[in-house]
């Protein structure tokens, strides 16, 4: 078993008629998926081994077939988010230099600015029609399976080059820790172009279960309905989706999800109140999160059940994964940068961009700041490059944001450091409010009562929007 496609092959042989993928367009059994993957991959064999092939889809069966087809053909799947900006798409194509981009008719229009890049564009259905060979012979695998560009919260996106061994190691851990089985039916309203969603697809293929793909969560009732209709056993959702379900669809959420064996969340920090509410409303369901990066997927796991008081933790290191926290002097410290080592960690970036900054003796320097408690549970404190040095005092914006967001009427808040003659940097807060009476003095007063003096935002600006990446992460560098 060398690649995730090998697991698809095994599932097809064991249970050819079992449903592998469900989308709004249909249900597809393992045999159908396998045959389509074989057909798709045969047309890719005209490219030299290890070529990059970009796949650009919404959540769909076309994504699944293309992704697995590229891997089966011995190429590297460059996974592009359907929500990518024009600029970012151009940057990624310029960097990845794919042999071709495979996309759907719906998304094709987004590629119109790529004409000058001299890249071959293929529409999925036409590409499949051209692929008439039924080539049962596997190609020699590339060492690498996927190229995923990270979200660019701080810098220009960089491509994470993910090996088959990274995927298999991480998937084995997910299956083991979250006790995934072939009877599972997974509901996934997450983009497959993101590590969280793609990991769910790997898990489902690995364990021979069924995955139900939703394109988005615009209509939460559709999502809840599908949980009931297909008797789903797991739900993977980002914290804002869970918060929305709790706030606006509480009864439907409870009624449809009370039989789930697992709810898993990730992507942004999960709110302590959300954790407590889910544990209270779903006493029979495991509620879990994990800490991971595209470069080091699923590095920890946290199962909240029975762990009262640890609602803010991201858990303990995954089996076979080492994590240490390092201070400014490079030595292990109580609080500092999180470094990860293990078979889930990528070896290098595409074109070796930033390898020197990010890797040291097998350790990935994540740029996240954290601490372990006495029982070995990891807590995230913020991003190292977001740290604000106020006259020598180090301030994590996350702490200030948490306080400000707890003020009634605050919808969102972001703290950044801005230049100051006296202190070097001072804290500036950008806030979105739905209370027209809320003024900066009220915010300042609340902060003075709840934070050390140097952490109190000196400047407060009310804004209507905050710059965010396509995955919802704030782009702080645009606010500084």
């Amino acid at each position: 078993m060398n690649t995730i496609v090998d697991y698809l092959t095994v599932s097809k042989e064991k249970n050819p008629n079992k449903i592998a993928v469900i989308t709004k367009d249909g249900k597809y059994d393992y045999e159908t998926i396998y045959n389509s993957v074989v057909q798709f991959s045969s047309s890719l064999k005209r490219y030299r081994q290890n070529s990059v092939v970009s796949i650009f889809f919404d959540n769909s069966v076309e994504f699944v077939i293309s992704y697995l087809g590229v891997i089966r053909a011995g190429h590297i799947a460059h996974v592009i988010s359907p929500n990518i900006s024009e600029l970012n798409l151009n940057n990624q194509i310029e960097s990845a230099k794919p042999q071709t981009i495979i996309t759907s008719r719906d998304i094709m229009s987004k590629t119109k600015t790529l004409d000058s890049k001299n890249v071959e564009l293929n529409e999925f259905k036409e590409f499949m029609e051209k692929s008439t060979q039924n080539d049962q012979e596997n190609s020699i695998s590339s060492e690498y399976a996927a190229l995923i560009y990270t979200s660019g919260t701080t810098t220009i996106p960089k491509g994470s080059l993910i090996k088959h061994s990274n995927i298999l190691f991480t998937t084995e851990n997910i299956v083991k820790v979250l006790e995934c089985v072939s009877d599972d039916v997974h509901i996934v309203p997450l983009s497959l172009s993101h590590s969280f969603g793609l990991g769910c697809l790997h898990t489902s293929l690995y364990s021979g279960s069924t995955i139900i793909l939703h394109k988005n969560t615009i209509n939460p009732l559709d999502l809840l309905k599908s949980i009931n209709e297909y008797n789903a056993s797991t739900l993977a959702a980002v914290p804002p989706t869970l918060a929305k379900l709790l706030k606006n669809f509480r009864n439907d959420f409870v009624e449809n999800c009370k039989r789930l064996r697992l709810i898993i969340t990730n992507s942004t920090a999960v709110n302590e109140q959300t954790v407590k509410e889910i544990l209270r409303l779903f006493p029979l369901t495991k509620f879990a999160t994990y800490y991971g990066l595209t470069e080091a997927s699923r590095s920890t796991f946290m199962i909240f059940n029975g762990k009262s008081g640890k609602e803010n933790s991201v858990g303990i290191p995954a089996p076979g994964v080492e994590i240490k926290v390092v201070g400014d002097d490079g030595k292990e410290a109580k609080e500092g940068e999180i470094c990860i080592r293990g078979k889930n960690v990528i070896e290098r970036y595409w074109n070796n961009i930033r390898d020197k900054d990010k890797f040291e003796e097998g350790w990935l320097k994540t740029g996240d700041v954290g601490r372990f408690d006495e029982e070995g549970y990891l807590y995230l404190l913020g991003r190292k490059d977001n740290l604000i040095n106020v006259g020598g005092e180090k301030v994590m914006p996350d702490e200030i944001e948490k306080i400000v967001k707890s003020i009634s009427g605050i919808v969102d808040a972001v703290a950044v450091g801005v230049d100051d003659e006296l202190f070097g940097k001072i804290v500036k807060m950008f806030v979105i409010t739905d209370d027209p009476k809320l003024d900066s003095l009220t915010i300042m007063n609340y902060c003075i009562k709840n934070l050390e003096r140097y952490k109190v935002p000196t400047k407060i600006e009310f804004v209507k929007n905050l710059p965010k990446t396509e995955y919802g992460k704030v782009q702080r560098f645009l606010l500084r």
Binding site: L422, R453, Y454
Partner: protein, 82 residues
Amino acid sequence: MLEKTSSVEDELKKIFLTIFPDMTESSFDWKKPQEHYANWDSFAQLQLVTAVESKFNIMTTPEDALSIKTAEDLLKIVKSRI
């Protein structure tokens, strides 16, 4: 004019009560010197200056900031700018 002056004083008093939450309205004194405040440090000084700049839409200079030793000093600066 009287109404405007009164409003500036009220607003400035509100800023002081915000930045020094341990102080009560009755204990507020325009002439109370900086050293008699428990928390009037350089951060509080910065917060006072930026709060009045934002509230009254005025600009102050670093010299202004250094010259503020009482609430009355800050009131004079604000009145001279608006």
